[in-house]
């Protein structure tokens, strides 16, 4: 059997039991490879459960820096007896299996076409430690040690990582025991096994100044930098770590040094209705406010989203999408809330959506959303998903321009009112559809108005008169048109040869798409590509579609929701837009995109 041989280009998957402490050991492995200068993109595949259920950590080692899921598993670290059979079956022919050989297993449980590497992890841990919890935790570090020799990762990078984590923080004892555990694993392999394997790591210089972080932490940081002061939220997977990280960063950066008082207010609300209600109240009253949630939360917030749209209140919502509908797959990823968000609430509504591709953009888009919300006086959705939100990813470092002022939008102040500037809350004075507002408490006699979800005339007086209603609804459309130029613009990539084929994608599909495009191009399948970064769609989107005969719309939902929006908003002939859909809850892979598009292109030709 030919063994898989690859340097700096393989997929290793860890099968663990959740709650066993494996997550930090697996992360340690990924970081060590990155310290070798080789990019890694790991993904947690976990259940909606705290302890005892199967969980996986799939790390893609890829010198070229493709961060999407590739598909296939070259090496399995099988630590969970519950999932043994499926885990073993998943290994690619010629691949590798590392397992705990403390207890003998019959030959029938293994595969002939896979190289099996047994390390008696439990034995080693039990001999070295007496405390049961330590035995469990350090067993994980022992397998990382074993792997480091098998895959040729330098011991020295671990030493540095341990030192950074434990040294000078009063955790010296942990430092020592971790180093010890690592070497127990390393020594066993050196003494008993052949190493390195056909797949291995070699020092490179492809990580550069990139940072390794998750989208939720990045979004939280973006919200701090963007000036959010009020956060209201309700716990829901996979968005919970956004408000939690926001709180952590606020504790660090937003405490008044003299008084010890907070320049932020965070409320864990009783439900999503209350969290969005608080955000609406704070936005109405001039504070930058946000909530973070996922699909079920969006469903509950819908009535308030309609109010914020119609009463024109700045609101920022980060939606970390998961598998729907209903409770769906809480710990799996999808891009399936597009329609629910773009047209949230009854009546005619349209909302601004932003589509970050990675943690870096979670940071920039979340900060930008706060500006856009105040500029446009409307809800802004940051449409991330579990794949970006809860997995650490290598990405460009965060950047902030210190000269940047927040865009507070059209807020009329007391001086302007006093000077006699005319004020009509829902009047389009500038031709961009965006009216002026005043904040409560601004002026003793001028500029007060009554906000409501009922229809009104331009002076904010209750009115059910047809012309008043139409004026307002048309102005809201004009405002939405204005948004086209303010939101992040699409990013285009031209094929190396002229082509009438195009591909459209967005958000977390981006890294897999980037890889797929490279491969397709190499294979002679030329496609021009457009990454959508926001809704509404600017004219360049219409133009790109017009320039091509057939376009693949790649997305992670069943119903081709982005395709529907393109057809609906731009009146595109549906026959032009081909669905490429991946929605089983796992992140889309480059291999899936390549084969789907390749088959489709060549079927057409044939």
């Amino acid at each position: 059997m030919k063994r898989i041989a690859a340097i700096n280009d393989f997929v290793i998957k860890f099968a663990n039991v959740n709650g066993s402490g494996s997550a930090s050991a697996n992360e340690l492995f990924a970081k060590a490879v990155m310290r070798m200068g080789v990019p890694v993109s790991p993904r947690n595949i976990f259940p909606s459960n705290i302890q005892g259920m199967p969980t996986w950590y799939e790390a893609r080692v890829c010198e070229k820096g493709y961060h999407g899921r590739r598909g296939g598993v070259d090496m399995m670290v099988a630590m969970n007896p519950q999932t043994w059979d499926t885990d073993i079956a998943e290994i690619s022919p010629g691949g590798y299996l590392l397992y705990d050989s403390t207890r003998p297993l019959p030959a029938s449980r293994f595969r002939d076409d896979v190289l099996t590497i047994g390390v008696p992890l439990t034995d080693i841990a039990n001999n070295a430690y007496t405390d049961p919890r330590q035995r469990q935790l350090f067993k994980n570090i022992i397998y990382v040690g074993a792997l480091s020799v098998l895959l040729d990762v330098d011991a020295e990078v671990f030493d540095r990582l341990f030192a950074e984590q434990y040294k000078g923080k009063g955790k010296e004892r942990l430092l020592e025991s971790n180093v010890q555990a690592l070497h127990l694993g390393r020594d066993y392999v050196k003494q008993h096994l052949q190493a390195p394997l056909g797949i291995r790591v070699q020092r490179a210089d492809n990580v550069g100044d990139q940072i390794f972080t998750d989208g939720n932490s990045a979004a939280a940081l973006g919200l701090v930098y963007g000036g959010a002061t009020v956060a209201a939220w309700y716990p829901i997977t996979p968005s919970t770590s956004i408000p939690e990280m926001f709180a952590k960063y606020c504790e660090k950066f937003r405490v008044d040094p003299d008084s010890g008082q907070h320049r932020f207010a965070i409320v864990q609300a009783e439900d999503e209705l209350a969290s969005i209600g608080m955000v609406v109240g704070a936005g109405w009253n001039g504070a930058r406010a946000f909530t973070a949630t996922s699909g079920p939360g969006i469903s509950l917030m819908t009535e308030f989203i309609g109010l914020a749209y119609f009463a024109e209140i700045p609101v920022t919502i980060v939606n970390v999408q998961r598998g729907g509908p209903s409770t769906g797959m809480p710990t799996k990823t999808q891009q399936s809330d597009l329609l629910a968000c773009a047209y949230a609430s009854h009546g005619d509504t349209k909302h601004v959506l932003l589509f970050p591709q990675d943690p870096h953009e979670c940071f920039t888009h979340s900060a930008a959303a706060l500006d856009l919300a105040e500029r446009l006086q409307t809800p802004i959705f940051v449409m991330t998903d579990l794949d970006i939100g809860m997995n650490q990813r290598l990405c460009k470092p965060f950047v902030w321009d210190d000269s940047k002022e927040y865009d507070r939008g059209k807020v009329m102040n007391a001086e302007e009112l006093e000077a006699g500037k005319s004020f009509g809350r829902y009047k389009d004075v500038d031709g961009d559809g965006i009216p002026w507002r005043t904040l409560p408490g601004t002026h003793p006699t001028k500029g007060a108005f009554f906000s409501r979800g009922t229809s009104r005339n331009p002076q904010a007086m209750y009115s059910e008169a047809g012309p008043d209603y139409i004026y307002n609804m048309e102005r809201l459309l004009r405002k939405f048109k204005t948004a086209e130029d303010l939101v992040p613009q699409p990013i285009f990539r031209k094929a190396s040869a002229p082509t009438k084929l195009g591909v459209i994608y967005y958000g977390s599909t981006t890294p897999a798409m980037r890889e797929a495009l490279d491969v397709l191009e190499r294979n002679g399948d030329h496609l021009d590509a457009m990454r959508l970064c926001a809704f509404p769609f600017p004219d360049s989107v219409r133009k790109f579609i017009a320039e091509h005969d057939k376009l693949f719309v790649v997305e992670q939902n069943r119903d081709a929701q982005m395709r529907t929006m393109l057809i609906n908003e731009l009146e595109i002939d549906p026959a032009k837009l081909v669905r490429v859909l991946h929605y089983d809850g796992t992140p889309i892979t480059a291999r899936f995109i390549i084969s789907t598009i390749h088959d489709c292109v060549h079927k057409e030709v044939a």
Binding site: K252, G277, N285
Partner: protein
């Protein structure tokens, strides 16, 4: 009469308060409610209370939900910003608004359907968070705008206009507010202005969550025999525990009372609530006693009114969250943004 625009002129000799406003400066648009509606009396009481309190109208933010009661925020304090939100969700919007700017006074107006039926959860949670606000429920036991269905505060056995009897137990918002930690809890009757105005003043000056349940008969759908929220019924069963006088900070106290008859309670802002006790055994600073008193009297079909509970030194949500004195909505990038140097450090820690 609602088609007539309200004239803006007023008599030049009209009396002004300390901040230079006449009573008319606290009015709003003409009410569109039915003639004789209890809610209009409450609006009038709000106007009188704010004028007497010398509050500048624009320093009040008035928030409401949906329903007849929630419409009333348009009928007073026309120079204040108002927000008619969605059904049952005023408390969350008020909470957010309050977090954004702690310097304004927050007046929440709601109804029994809005707060006890669809919005019970938000009502309860705003009370337990001790949001600083004056929260008034204009309680008539029915849905007026949809023509007379029972709400969750309708008493068991009450008969609606069509003769249907309500078989569900009523929700007592006063009891819930007491249990969940509201620090100023009162019940009043829209037909008793002398009692209601000082109660509203006390609530506006209160430092925490103030709640007033005002029985406010619906003249169109719930003012008949068999109703327990009619003018006649409430008048016949009103059991006032106290009368209060609201004394603004620094004013001279002149009236003389016999010892034991009055209790003076000073609030955070220096204002004094002078309680003239009508029931000797009633202690409005004892939460547990207030709750048992309410239960005992409700069982007898009595409507206990007056200031039922007061924690004069109450704190609020800002105290719990330890927020800055400076309103959050006035802070710019220099106070909020950690800057690029801090970001570089964060980047380094993520490598």
């Amino acid at each position: 009469m609602t088609y007539i625009a309200k004239p803006k002129m007023h008599h030049p000799t009209l009396q002004t308060n300390k901040v230079g406003y006449t009573r008319r400066d606290y009015e709003g648009r003409i009410s569109t409610l039915c003639a004789g509606c209890g809610h209009d009396s409450i609006s009038a009481a709000v106007i009188q209370a704010c004028w007497e309190l010398d509050i500048e109208p624009h320093r009040v933010a008035k928030l409401s939900g949906i329903g007849c009661s929630s419409k009333t925020t348009d009928y007073f304090l026309g120079a204040s910003h108002g927000f008619n939100t969605v059904h049952g969700r005023m408390p969350s919007v008020l909470t957010g608004a309050n977090l954004a700017n702690r310097d304004l006074l927050y007046l929440g107006v709601s109804g029994d359907g809005d707060s006890a039926s669809i919005g019970l959860g938000q009502f309860a949670n705003a009370m337990r968070r001790c949001v600083r606000m004056a929260y008034i429920v204009e309680n008539n036991g029915v849905y007026g705008l949809t023509k007379g269905q029972f709400s969750a505060t309708a008493d068991r056995g009450a008969k609606n206009k069509k003769g249907f009897v309500n078989n569900d137990n009523p929700i007592d918002l006063v009891g819930i507010a007491l249990q969940l930690g509201a620090t100023y809890v009162a019940r009043s009757f829209s037909g008793d202005k002398a009692q209601l105005i000082p109660l509203i003043k006390g609530a506006m000056a209160h430092g925490g969550a103030a709640f007033i349940d005002v029985i406010s008969p619906c003249v169109t759908f719930n003012n008949h025999g068999g109703s327990t929220k009619s003018y006649d019924y409430v008048r016949a069963h009103n059991e006032a525990v106290s009368r209060i006088d609201f004394i603004t900070p620094g004013s001279e106290i002149t009236a003389e009372y016999a010892p034991g008859e009055v209790v003076d309670v000073q609030q955070h802002d220096g204002s004094v609530l002078r309680l003239r006790k009508l029931h000797e055994d009633y202690d409005p600073t004892d939460r547990d006693a207030a709750m048992s008193y309410m239960h005992a009297h409700a069982a007898r079909g009595e409507v206990v009114t007056g200031l039922l509970y007061l924690d004069a030194l109450a704190t609020d949500l800002h105290t719990s969250l330890n927020t800055c004195e400076q309103p959050l909505n006035t802070m710019g990038a220099q106070l909020l943004c950690p800057g690029s140097q801090a970001l570089d450090k964060i980047n380094d820690a993520l490598r």
